[in-house]
Amino acid sequence: MNLTIEKQYLPSERYKKAITYVTILFLVVVGLSIYFNFDPWLFITDFHFLVDLLGEMTPPNFEVLWKKQKVFSSILQTISMAFLGTLIGGTIALGLAFFAAKNTTPHPAVRFFVRIFLSIERVIPNLVIILVFLISVGLGPFAGMLSIAVGTIGMFGKLFADAIEGADGDPIEAVYAVGASKLQVIRFGIIPQILPSFIANLFYAFDINLRAAIGLGVFGGAGIGFEIHMAMKLMRYKDALALIFFTIILICLFEKISDYLRKKTMGQDILK
C-alpha cells in the first residue's frame, strides 16, 4: 500500500494554519492597542502610578469602619438593597413565570407577551434601569433596590418559566384528577416541584445582586460602592482601601452564609 499523508494533514501545513490564526489575532490585538493609545510601555512607565497609589493606600485606615456612623449604615444599605431587591424581584419573577409557562398560563397570547416582555427586560442594561429609577424616586438606596429587583426579574423570569414548564406532568395530572382547581394544582402540584430550585436560584441571585448593589451604589449614591467612590474622589485613599477590604470580606462572608443556608434548607426541605 502506498502510504501518503494528504496535504491538509501534514504537520507542517497544520502548523502554518495555526500560526496564521495566531498571527492574525496578534495583529488585531496590537492594532487595537495602538488605536486605543494602549501603549504597552505605559505598563512600565505608568506602573509607578499604581505603586504610588498603593503607597498612599497603605496602611488601610480601618478606623473609618466604626468611626464614621455613615459607613456602617451604608454597609447595611448595600446588604438591604441586595436582600430586598432579590426578594421582591424573585417573587415577581416567579409570578410572571406562571404567566409565561405553557402549563399554567391562562391564555397563549398572555404567554406570548409576557415572554417578549421578559426577553426585552433581560437585555436592558442595569445602567438604564437605575437611571430611570433615579429620576423617578430620587437618589438613594430606594432607586438602587428597585433596579436590582427589576434586574432580577429579567435574569430569572425566563429561568423560572422554563422550570415550571419542565415540571413533571404526572403529579400535576394527579392533582387535577382529584378535582382541584387550577390554582390548587399550582399550589400542590407545581410549587413543591420547583421550590428547591427556586430557593437555590434566590441564593444565587443574592450573591450576584450583592456585587451589583456595590456597583450600582456608585451611581445611585447609596451603599459601600458610593462610599468607596467618594473616598477615592476625595483622595482619602487609606479609607478607600479599608472599605475595599471590607467589601471583599463581606462578599466572601455572604457566600459562605448563602452556602450554609442553602444546604440547610435544601437538606431539610422544610417548605412544602
Partner: protein, 270 residues
C-alpha cells in the same frame, strides 16, 4: 532486560501490598502475570516504569544499548530517558481522545524531542511519515487522521500499541491490555504483541488463562503480594484454583484445562 529485585510496597497507612517480588525478564520472553484482584499485579507493573516507587527494593532496566538504569532511584531527566525506551499499553487505552491517531502515535517520541520545538512547533512531516508506517504495521493506517475517540476499542488499542512501537522501546509493558476488548479483538491484539517478543522482553498482566497459555512463554502468578509461581506456560486447573481461590468459577477452570489441551494439540499440529 528488566530485573526486579525484591521490591516491597507499603501504603501510607502501613498496609503491605507487595511483600517481596523478584523476577528477571530477558529478550525473547513473553511473560504473563496473573493473580486474584488486589494481589498487586498492577502495582508491580507500575514499579517497572517508575509510576510508583517501591518502599524497598529496586528495579533495574537494561536497554538495547546495554545501559543499566535503576528505575527506582532515578528521577528527572534520567527517568524520562529511561521511560522513553519503555513501551506501555494500558487497559483503558489511555490515548488523548481528541487528537488524531497519528498525533497520538507521535507523542511516543516526546521524550527525545527538543522541548522548545515540541511545545511551539509540534511534529515534523518526517515524523508523521514514520508514525504512519507504524500505524500501517498495526493495520490502522486508514484511520490515521481520525480522532481516536471515534474509534472502536480494538482500533484504539492498536493505536496505543503503535505509539509504544514508535518509541522503539527496549521492553514492552502491558497492563491488562485486552480486558476491555471482546474475545475476537483480544486475540488479534495478542497476535500483534507476540512477534515483538523476538526483539524485546514483554511483560503483561492478563486475566484470561487461555490467552496466557496460548501466547506467553512464561507465567508468573502473584497472590497476596508474593510470587507463588514462576514457570513455563503450562498451568493446570488445580494450580489455577490455588491461585485464584473462589474468584474463578468452575466454567473458567474448565476453560483453563481445555485451552491447555488445545495448546498441546496445536503444538502437535505444528
Amino acid at each position: 532486560m528488566i530485573d526486579v529485585r525484591n521490591i516491597t510496597k507499603e501504603t501510607r497507612e502501613g498496609v503491605q501490598i507487595l511483600k517481596g517480588i523478584s523476577f528477571k525478564v530477558e529478550k525473547g520472553e513473553f511473560v504473563g502475570i496473573l493473580g486474584p484482584s488486589g494481589a498487586g499485579k498492577s502495582l508491580t507493573m507500575r514499579c517497572l516504569n517508575g509510576l510508583t516507587k517501591p518502599t524497598t527494593g529496586e528495579v533495574v532496566f537494561t536497554d538495547n544499548q546495554n545501559n543499566a538504569i535503576n528505575i527506582t532511584s532515578c528521577r528527572g531527566k534520567e527517568l524520562r530517558l529511561a521511560r522513553q525506551k519503555i513501551g506501555v499499553i494500558f487497559q483503558g487505552f489511555n490515548l488523548v481522545k481528541r487528537l488524531s491517531a497519528i498525533d497520538n502515535v507521535m507523542i511516543g517520541q516526546l521524550g527525545n524531542m527538543n522541548l522548545f520545538r515540541s511545545l511551539f512547533y509540534g511534529f515534523t512531516d518526517r515524523e508523521a511519515m514514520q508514525a504512519l508506517k507504524v500505524l500501517e504495521k498495526v493495520k490502522v493506517a486508514h484511520l490515521a487522521h481520525r480522532p481516536v475517540g471515534s474509534l472502536s476499542g480494538g482500533e484504539m488499542q492498536r493505536v496505543a500499541i503503535a505509539r509504544a512501537m514508535y518509541q522503539q522501546p527496549s521492553i514492552m509493558l502491558a497492563d491488562e491490555p485486552i480486558a476491555n476488548l471482546d474475545p475476537n479483538n483480544a486475540r488479534k491484539i495478542m497476535q500483534l504483541l507476540k512477534p515483538l517478543a523476538d526483539e524485546m522482553p514483554i511483560v503483561g498482566v492478563f486475566h484470561q488463562p487461555e490467552i496466557i497459555q496460548e501466547f506467553c512463554t512464561r507465567i508468573i502468578a502473584i497472590k497476596d503480594g508474593n510470587i507463588v509461581r514462576d514457570g513455563d506456560n503450562k498451568i493446570t486447573r488445580s494450580e489455577m484454583r490455588d491461585i485464584y481461590g473462589a474468584e474463578l468459577s468452575e466454567i473458567e477452570l474448565n476453560r483453563t484445562e481445555h485451552s491447555a489441551v488445545s495448546y498441546q494439540l496445536s503444538a502437535l499440529g505444528d
